[in-house]
Structure formats: structure tokens, C-alpha cells
């Protein structure tokens, strides 16, 4: 090696002298395999399909809060008249677990669409039916608000989270059934 060689050239020379492959001692492989085996078992859950699903959820989550809070903000007005709108900005929900916020967004979109359909059909339903539906929706909304408020104070409470989800699902189911009622019933 020359005295005038630059540090980069010197490094190149040294690395060039290194062997291309270094085989590990034979008795190391069993231990390495033992370490790797469980990890490869776990990675099977992250096949492309799961990654796509996770990506989809992430995309859905990014805009869910807007819809959710838009719906929440106008629900009181719907007791007398249903007007669909999605231009409200998020104002709450930060204290809920992330997965619930994602779920809430899905619920909010469903509720929004069903409300619009129900509003379009409102005149074709009997007033007594509309009254029954609205009374039940108020009960459902009250339960949702109560469970949600409690969950914001105790975000780690899984029982509360399950109850909140169930309340949403019952409300959506009620709305769905109301939209499927025959005219004049």
C-alpha cells in the first residue's frame, strides 16, 4: 500500500482483501434457526392481503373523524327534520382509542346515508311509525352519548367500548329497518 493513498482508497483496499463470504461455525445454525422460527411464524400474518387491509383501514381512519363529528354535530336538529351534511369539522373524539375512532367513522357514514334515505321516505310513512322510529332513535342516541362520554373518561375500559359499539349497531339496524318499511306503514 502506498503512503500517498487517500483514506477512501485505503478503505477500498482493505475491504477488497476481506473474504467474499464467511461461513458461520456449524454449531451456530441450530441456535439461529431456533431464534428465527417463531419470528417467521408471526410474519405470516402480514401477508399482502393483510397489509392491504391494514392500509385500507388506515385510509378510512384518516377521514372518518370528519364524517363522524359532522353527523354528531347535527343529530339534535334531526329530531324534527333530517338534513344530511358532511361539511362539519371534527371537534371531539381525541380521547377515544384509535380503533374506536375508526369504527365510529364507519358508523357515522352508515348513519348519514340511512338518515338521508329515511328523510326522503318520511312522507310516505305513517306519522305513528315516524314517531316510533324517532323515539327509539332518541333512546339509542342517548345511550351512545352516555357510553361515549364514559369511555372518554376511561378509554381503556373494554366493556365500555363493546357497549358503545353495540349501541351504534342497534341504532344503525333500527335506521336500516325504518328505511325498508313499506309506504304508509
Amino acid at each position: 500500500m502506498s503512503e500517498h493513498t487517500s483514506p477512501e482508497d485505503r478503505l477500498d483496499e482493505l475491504t477488497a482483501e476481506l473474504p467474499r463470504e464467511v461461513a458461520p461455525p456449524p454449531d451456530l445454525w441450530p441456535a439461529i434457526r431456533a431464534e428465527l422460527a417463531p419470528r417467521s411464524g408471526r410474519t405470516i400474518h402480514w401477508n399482502p392481503r393483510w397489509r392491504l387491509a391494514a392500509a385500507g383501514l388506515l385510509v378510512a381512519a384518516s377521514s372518518s373523524i370528519i364524517t363522524l363529528l359532522a353527523v354528531r354535530s347535527r343529530e339534535p336538529a334531526r329530531e324534527s327534520s333530517v338534513v344530511a351534511s358532511t361539511d362539519s369539522a371534527p371537534t371531539a373524539g381525541e380521547r377515544l382509542p384509535a380503533h374506536l375512532l375508526v369504527a365510529e367513522r364507519g358508523y357515522a357514514r352508515s348513519i348519514d346515508a340511512l338518515w338521508r334515505t329515511l328523510d326522503e321516505r318520511r312522507d310516505s310513512l305513517a306519522p305513528s311509525t315516524v314517531a316510533t322510529v324517532e323515539r327509539s332513535l332518541r333512546i339509542a342516541d342517548s345511550a351512545i352519548a352516555e357510553a361515549r362520554s364514559a369511555l372518554e373518561r376511561d378509554p381503556a375500559n373494554r366493556v365500555l367500548a363493546d357497549l358503545l359499539v353495540s349501541n351504534y349497531e342497534r341504532k344503525i339496524d333500527l335506521l336500516r329497518r325504518a328505511t325498508e318499511l313499506a309506504p304508509r306503514t
Binding site: 333500527l174 329497518r177 325504518a178 304508509r184 306503514t185
Partner: protein
């Protein structure tokens, strides 16, 4: 008074009497079809009561009385047995929807889809499938169809058989059932009363309505009950005790079924109760926000 004038008055009187009579008049309905044993029947009926009766004939017979002026579309019986029927009866006015009654006889193995407004619906002896949907009327099912879906807004739903698969939903209507294999019942403010039979898998849920459960459990049964604010009253066997997992957010749990006491929840709010059971006794999960949970022996 001239003769022409008298004739005019008579004509007017006849017209008035006829129209007044027609307000309360009813028209008869009767039609029959040869069908396959598993015929699918879709019926929209806007009448006071509807009875669906399963029988041992491969035919569907629709008979009864409907309000005069009703739109009736019962199709035309074909030459051979049909696999599907669509029948339609709509009352002429909103006031007339509670008038009249229909009886629909179907093969026992038929699948019947029935949608009505405020009719009281009774179905019996059907072993195929029933999909019944009412708003203000009640639904009563006798016998054990293979599949049963019953939905009502504010009418009561009573199932006194043990269907293999059943889903019942109401908004304010009460639900009464006797068990089955795979059962689901959900209501907003109605009550759910499950007693008198056995169950393999069941989920009962309400928002404010009370839930009462006194069904026997098959081996390895799965039972879930959930409410926001309705009380849950559960009777369980002590001979074949299931595993119990109960929790409330703010309400109390009273355990009169075993000697294990519930424990207060975090920060002293709510309660939980965990009891290990025999492996064959199944599992019971109870969840409530603020409705009291009571466990008792049966």
C-alpha cells in the same frame, strides 16, 4: 213533482247509499296454486290479520276478506307446480289497513316472506323458513321453523317454538321466546323474555328494555346478554353450572346463584363477577352499562 225529478232523486239516493255501504264493505279473496313442497312465497299484505298455516299439501291457498277497493294481485294459478309466488294486497286507505283478514296455507317446508304494516301475524306449523316483518302489529309463531326472522317496530313478537336459527328485532315491542339452537334477539326499549326451553347459542341485547333469561343450556352453550340500562335477570342451573363472566359500568351485580360475590369495579364504579364453571356447562357473558344484573338459580 215531475216524474223526471223523482227519478233523479231516486238515483241520487241509491248512489249515496251505495257509496256509504262501500266504505265498510269488504271483498272476498280466494285463490289456490299447485306448488313444490319447498315453494317460496312472498306476500305483501295490508290487512288486519294474517295467518300463515303450514299443511301437508303441495299447494298454497289464500283466502279471506279484505277491504273493498283493495288492490289485490294474487297471480294466476299455472298448469304445473310452481316454485315461487308473489302475492300482493294493499288497502285502499290508511284507515282500512286494519280491516280484513287473510289465511295463507302453505306446504310445511315452504319459505314465506311476509311484509305488512299494522297486521297481527300468526304463523304455525311451518318447518321451512319464515321472514316476517310488521310495523305496528304483533307477530306470533307457533312451531319450529328451520329459519325464522321476525322484525317489528312497536308490535310484540312471541315465538313459542324452538327454531334452529332465529333473529328477532323490535324497536319498542316486547319479545318472548323459548329457545332454539342459534338465537338472537335485539330491541331498543322492549323487553326480552326467554324461558321455557333450551338454547345452544344465544345473544340477547337491549338498550333500555329488561332482559329475563331462564332457559336451560345445552352442553357447551354460549350465552351473551347485553344492555345499556335495562335490568338483566338470569336464572342458571346449579347442576351443570356454566362459566359466568359479568360486568357492569355503573350498576350493581347481585349473585343469588352461587356463593361467589361480585367485586367492585375500578374507582368503585360498577361491578364484575367471574365464576369458573364445569366444561360442559357452557359460558355466560353479561354486560351492562347501568342496568342491574341479577343471577339466580333455576
Amino acid at each position: 213533482m215531475t216524474r223526471a225529478r223523482v227519478q233523479r232523486i231516486v238515483v241520487v239516493l241509491i248512489a249515496v247509499v251505495t257509496s256509504a255501504t262501500s266504505l265498510h264493505a269488504q271483498q272476498k279473496v280466494h285463490t289456490a296454486y299447485a306448488t313444490t313442497p319447498d315453494v317460496s312465497v312472498r306476500l305483501f299484505a295490508s290487512v288486519g290479520t294474517v295467518q300463515v298455516v303450514g299443511w301437508d299439501k303441495d299447494s298454497v291457498v289464500v283466502s279471506g276478506i279484505v277491504a273493498s277497493g283493495s288492490q289485490v294481485s294474487l297471480g294466476t294459478p299455472g298448469a304445473g307446480p310452481t316454485r315461487g309466488l308473489k302475492l300482493f294486497v294493499e288497502s285502499p286507505t290508511e284507515q282500512a289497513v286494519r280491516e280484513g283478514s287473510l289465511t295463507v296455507r302453505v306446504p310445511r317446508g315452504a319459505r314465506v316472506w311476509l311484509k305488512t304494516g299494522s297486521s297481527d301475524v300468526t304463523a304455525s306449523e311451518v318447518t321451512g323458513g319464515l321472514d316476517l316483518n310488521v310495523v305496528g302489529g304483533s307477530i306470533t309463531v307457533h312451531g319450529s321453523p328451520r329459519e325464522l326472522r321476525a322484525e317489528s317496530m312497536d308490535g310484540a313478537v312471541t315465538i313459542d317454538g324452538t327454531p334452529s336459527w332465529m333473529r328477532v328485532k323490535t324497536a319498542t315491542g316486547d319479545i318472548a321466546l323459548r329457545g332454539g339452537e342459534d338465537i338472537g334477539a335485539s330491541t331498543i326499549s322492549g323487553t326480552i323474555d326467554a324461558r321455557g326451553g333450551e338454547v345452544e347459542r344465544v345473544k340477547l341485547e337491549s338498550t333500555t328494555g329488561a332482559i329475563r333469561f331462564a332457559l336451560g343450556l345445552t352442553r357447551g352453550a354460549s350465552v351473551e346478554m347485553e344492555t345499556h340500562s335495562g335490568p338483566i335477570d338470569v336464572q342458571l342451573s346449579r347442576k351443570m353450572p356454566p362459566e359466568v363472566d359479568a360486568a357492569t359500568v355503573t350498576a350493581t351485580i347481585e349473585n343469588a346463584w352461587s356463593k361467589i360475590p361480585p367485586v367492585p369495579g375500578r374507582e368503585g364504579r360498577g361491578m364484575s363477577l367471574a365464576i369458573g364453571g364445569g366444561q360442559m356447562g357452557g359460558r355466560v357473558v353479561l354486560r351492562s352499562f347501568k342496568g342491574k344484573i341479577t343471577l339466580r338459580g333455576m
